[in-house]
Subunit: 209 residues, 2 copies
DNA sequence: TAGATTGTTAATCGATTAACAATC
DNA sequence: TAGATTGTTAATCGATTAACAATC
């Protein structure tokens, strides 16, 4: 997974750098020092320098980092310019919200289809994308070169559906289902566990009381 | 924040234990060993024991941990039995999806109101909760003892709205806006950055190619 | 050149793992 | 009692921070 030995801790921070630097770019800032970035991002300047060392050529001693170059380099590392077709599996409200989520395109993901078992939902169109019956999923994946699926189904269906997605050739799952998917190592799973996030909020709220 | 010195690393795992143990309970399992939990959760047995040491009395040497007791203890630690009123600020599709998200109640959060600037949305009812005009937000917060707000607005509005929520007395923000909120330390912020999650997925997909 | 700031090595800190004694 | 498995201490590993030499 870590092609270049870049550690997970760094990978988690890359999107934060990218976002921050995007703002700097918007503000017309051309150069930024590790200490200034450090203040904006609330991490140490030392860590910033360690992290940005993955992008040699962006930093210049005595002058700071070239914002534009950094933006390009990090974007390239993240793979923002690669495009991938994505489907949404489970077209209830969360699935629909994701389908209308415009940032998809910004990061190279192309919303291609939506699927649901519920006949009441089939046929609806969300942001130009039609909700199709779940039976058609596998054929659709093969015909449209789908590499990613956002999974927004009830936990009980998630494991089985994830296995179907794997068999159909999907390479990555953006998993919103409240379940631990058991899949071969070559499937990439990015979890968004809202209930865990909520419990952490609850813990902190109660701990501070 | 860490009332009892429990580390962040442990706190992040608590919800995972809680969910896992909930399943065990459903399956009728009464006792479980650290090694079995470790296999199910894909972390080391040693770490499981370290973590569960925060709940003395659940473990019995030679016999494993009492599932029911552990469930109670962790639930208590997380604060699942405390109840808090929550509002959703920003009632577009993601806000609406959250409002219909049934797990709220499970963790003691009571969906009390929704707010949006868009007059087209005001008046709509989502799962029994009406969307109200944003101007009414502060009064509503005071009158209904709102402690938590889920923030699902465009990044540009997020910082300002977060400040308004703080001044109105909200104690915690569940932040879905793609922005870094700048707030006093006594405001609890739990971030769900979908775009960062998406970028990590992208990175891993491209790194594995 | 002098000043600023990176790049990089070494020190520290925290979290995970290993090992085993305690005990049910 | 013997076997199993926790509780807990020590060792290891990885990530962050500190420090400063290199250099623009």
């Amino acid at each position: 997974m870590q092609k270049n030995g870049i550690s997970n801790a760094v990978i988690r921070r890359l999107p934060k750098y990218y976002r921050q630097i995007e703002w700097l770019l918007d503000e017309g800032v051309e150069r930024i020092s590790s200490s200034e970035l450090s203040m904006r991002m609330d991490i140490s300047a030392s860590l910033v320098r360690q992290d940005l060392n993955w992008f040699p050529g962006s930093g210049v001693q005595g002058h700071g980092y070239d914002v534009k170059n950094l933006y390009e380099e990090i974007g390239h590392m993240i793979g923002v310019h690669q495009s991938h077709n994505i489907i949404v599996v489970g077209a209830e409200s969360l699935g629909q919200a994701l389908a209308t989520y415009s940032n998809f395109e910004k990061y190279g993901f192309i919303m291609t289809g939506m699927f649901d078992v519920n006949p009441r939902l089939v046929g609806l169109v969300c942001r130009g994308v039609e909700i199709r019956p779940l039976d058609h999923m596998e054929a659709f994946i093969r015909e449209n070169d789908i590499q990613i699926a956002a999974l927004t189904v009830p936990p009980k269906r998630a494991v089985e559906l994830a296995a179907r997605l794997y068999r159909a050739g999907v390479r990555a799952i953006w998993n919103f289902a409240n379940a631990d998917l058991e899949l071969p190592d070559d499937m990439i799973v990015e979890n968004v566990h809202l209930s865990e996030s909520l419990m952490q909020l609850s813990f902190r709220l109660n701990a501070s009381a």
